[in-house]
């Protein structure tokens, strides 16, 4: 079985491009060109150069000694928190801004949840001198104020999404609407492995640098490029897609995808898509999503704005349905505790999104000689206020 995308834009049953005709030219233009453009040496060269000099890649693979001691296993952290702008998101936005330039676009739009993708988009737009509009749920604007400020500093316009749950899902709707209204000059930089084909594949390819680096870094450190486990949180799923990418077909490597259970999987306030979702269509893609019996999309909840999404990307839907990846749900409380633990044991304050991945250490027992790579998708600076409030620091 293949775990990668097929030539129709599907991962198994999932994927495709369920888009209104108004988006067809945009998406089709991208579909026809993305692989060709990515294959060009000049593209690769510019992408690699920016990842190195601007983003700061390779991000380290750090052996977390105190954490390993505590959990009696061998834990490595993939340090996407050290990237410029503080998360894995920028790998993708660098790729897409170069793509947009080559497609002759002059205006960039994006949606954002935690604000990390918005900041990463505003950043590359500043870098390239392009107009940038970021849609963000009104609720997220309030709970991720530092990132809103950063986007403004970078010259981006932040437009609040006022409908629905006023979070990521609704920001995405607004961005799609903008794209429909601006079909010629605008490129839509989607921030995760979601949306219509070819977005999930394109974003996964840009994020694949994460597992590409893990392979050689682990080889250097452990003599083998294969860990026993790769663990990553899943909102839309881009950091997980990047961390899993080069291991997808290597079933020796176990993959763990961590979803946000909010106040509990069955509390009614959750974003644990695999546990609660069914196959359906969201944002142009057939995938798993949380919905009513009637097919209305459910409003998700997570303390973490970046995981507060009622779907997952189609790659992850397939990894779940096929059993290739294990899916674990982590509550707000479990994540917060894990975030504080990482801070105190390793001096690294993780994004609350990433904290969900770390909480797996308390849920699952690993063997002493297991090599467990946890994707530290982002740093916690943007979440300080949440941590402070939660722990009454």
């Amino acid at each position: 079985m293949s775990y990668n995308i097929n030539d129709k834009g599907y991962y198994g049953e999932f994927g495709g491009a369920y888009i209104p005709e108004m988006l067809y030219p945009n998406v089709e233009e991208l579909r026809q060109n993305y692989l060709k453009i990515m294959a060009k040496p000049s593209f690769k060269e510019e992408f690699d150069q920016l990842l190195k000099d601007y983003v700061g890649r390779p991000s380290p693979l750090y052996f977390a000694k105190r954490l390993s001691d505590k959990y009696n296993t061998r834990i490595y952290l993939k340090r996407e928190d050290l990237n410029h702008t503080g998360a894995h998101k920028v790998n993708n936005t660098i790729g897409q801004i170069l793509m947009a330039q080559r497609l002759g676009k002059s205006r960039i739009i994006a949606e954002t949840g935690a604000g990390q993708h918005g900041v990463a988009t505003a950043t590359v737009c500043a870098l390239m001198g392009m107009e940038c509009i970021v849609y963000m749920g009104e609720i997220d604007i309030a709970r991720q104020a530092p990132n809103v400020a950063r986007m403004k500093m970078l010259g981006a316009q932040v437009r609040p999404a006022l409908s629905g749950s006023r979070t990521l899902k609704d920001a995405t709707n607004e961005a799609i609407r903008d794209w429909i209204n601006n079909p010629v000059d605008t490129h839509y930089i989607i921030g995760s492995v979601v949306g219509p084909h070819p977005y999930p594949d394109m974003v996964a390819r840009f994020q694949a640098i994460v597992s590409e680096e893990i392979q050689w870094q682990l080889k250097e450190k452990e003599g083998t490029s294969k860990p026993d486990y790769v663990v990553a949180c899943v909102g839309g799923g881009s950091n997980a897609a990047g961390a899993f990418y080069h291991y997808l077909d290597d079933t020796d490597v176990k993959l763990i995808a961590v979803e946000a259970a909010g106040k509990g999987v069955h509390s009614g306030e959750s974003a644990a898509t695999s546990a609660l979702g069914r196959e359906g269509i969201i944002h142009g893609s057939k995938t798993l999503l949380m919905q009513t019996n009637d097919g209305q999309i459910t409003e998700p909840y997570s303390i973490s704005a970046g995981l507060d999404y009622p779907g997952v990307g189609p790659m992850h839907a397939h990894l779940y349905a096929s059993g290739r990846a294990e899916f674990i749900s982590i509550t707000d409380d479990e994540a917060m505790v894990a975030g504080l633990e990482l801070s105190k044991l390793e001096g690294i304050i993780p994004a609350i999104e990433s904290s969900h991945a770390f909480a797996v250490l308390d849920q699952k027992t690993f063997k002493t000689d297991d090599v467990v790579v946890i994707n530290l998708s982002g740093r916690g600076d943007k979440d300080l206020q949440n941590y402070i409030d939660y722990f009454k620091l």
Binding site: P20, N173, I180
Partner: protein, 254 residues
């Protein structure tokens, strides 16, 4: 013959009206349809509300949200419409996003539409290839016309292809923008209307998006068979009683 095809043969410019089922009140669906027919409307698009209507503008989205709050659902809508053909004879089209239909079951949905007497469907986010590969046969079994959209950005080849697989009318989006956003048509749109008219497609075109009054209706139908009004009608419903629908339609047509 499907009621849509019959209607398209009439020698007149057609006025089609869209509204979100369950708005302003849950049980307004049938009265609105009846009033519209009585007022002289040619065709009706009944919106099946969706939580995330990404091709719609703020007016239609707000009415969908309100309708859902009012309790609208696929089952409720079908239930409301079960006797609609006792009182209404103009073509009825259900317009909805794909996910609720998928969850209902596409075949079950189509069958139910046939039972009720629905003539066609518009599913903006159902891609043509998926329709062709998986659902065309089902639609045909239940006598439903699937209406496809084209926009100013749609290529000639694709328009021809859409024309070839359509068997009712083509929903011609006046401008590449979500519903309710423009006001009045400019030179660009007129050129687009002419360009499509000159293609002499086998399916007539009905223009949607941006039609709100007699002026825009007249402009849109200069080159096309008809026009669809959505947001403007919903705004009207927000501010007026159902009995005044008559006035709304009269204003458009004269």
């Amino acid at each position: 013959m499907n009621k849509i095809n019959q209607k398209l043969q009439e020698d007149k410019k057609l006025l089609s009206i869209y509204f979100s089922a369950g708005y302003p009140s849950l049980n307004d669906t049938v009265p609105i349809i009846e009033n519209l027919e009585k007022s002289g409307v040619d065709m009706i698009e009944i919106g099946l509300p969706f939580s995330d209507p990404l091709a719609d503008g703020p007016t239609i989205q707000a009415s969908s949200t309100e309708a859902l709050k009012n309790g609208m659902s696929t089952n409720v809508l079908f239930d409301q419409l079960k006797d609609i053909r006792k009182t209404v004879s103009i073509p009825l089209i259900v317009m909805g996003y794909f996910n609720p239909i998928l969850q209902y079951g596409v075949e079950a949905f189509c069958k139910k539409c046939q039972d009720i007497g629905i003539d066609g469907l518009i599913i903006p986010d159902l891609p043509i290839d998926v329709y062709n590969d998986q659902y065309k046969a089902i639609f045909e079994t239940y006598g439903l016309i699937n209406v496809f959209l084209i926009t100013p950005q749609t290529s000639v080849e694709r328009i021809n292809f859409i024309d070839s697989i359509s068997n009712g009318f083509i929903y011609m989006v006046s401008s590449a923008s979500v519903t309710g956003s423009s006001s009045g048509f400019g030179d660009e749109q007129t050129a687009y209307f002419k360009r499509i008219a000159n293609m002499k497609l086998k399916n007539p075109q009905i223009v949607g998006f941006g039609i709100s009054n007699n002026e825009t209706f007249t402009q849109a139908t200069q080159y096309a068979k008809g026009a669809i009004i959505g947001s403007a009608f919903i705004k009207f419903l927000t501010n007026n009683n159902l009995e005044k629908i008559d006035e709304f339609v009269t204003n458009i047509l004269n």
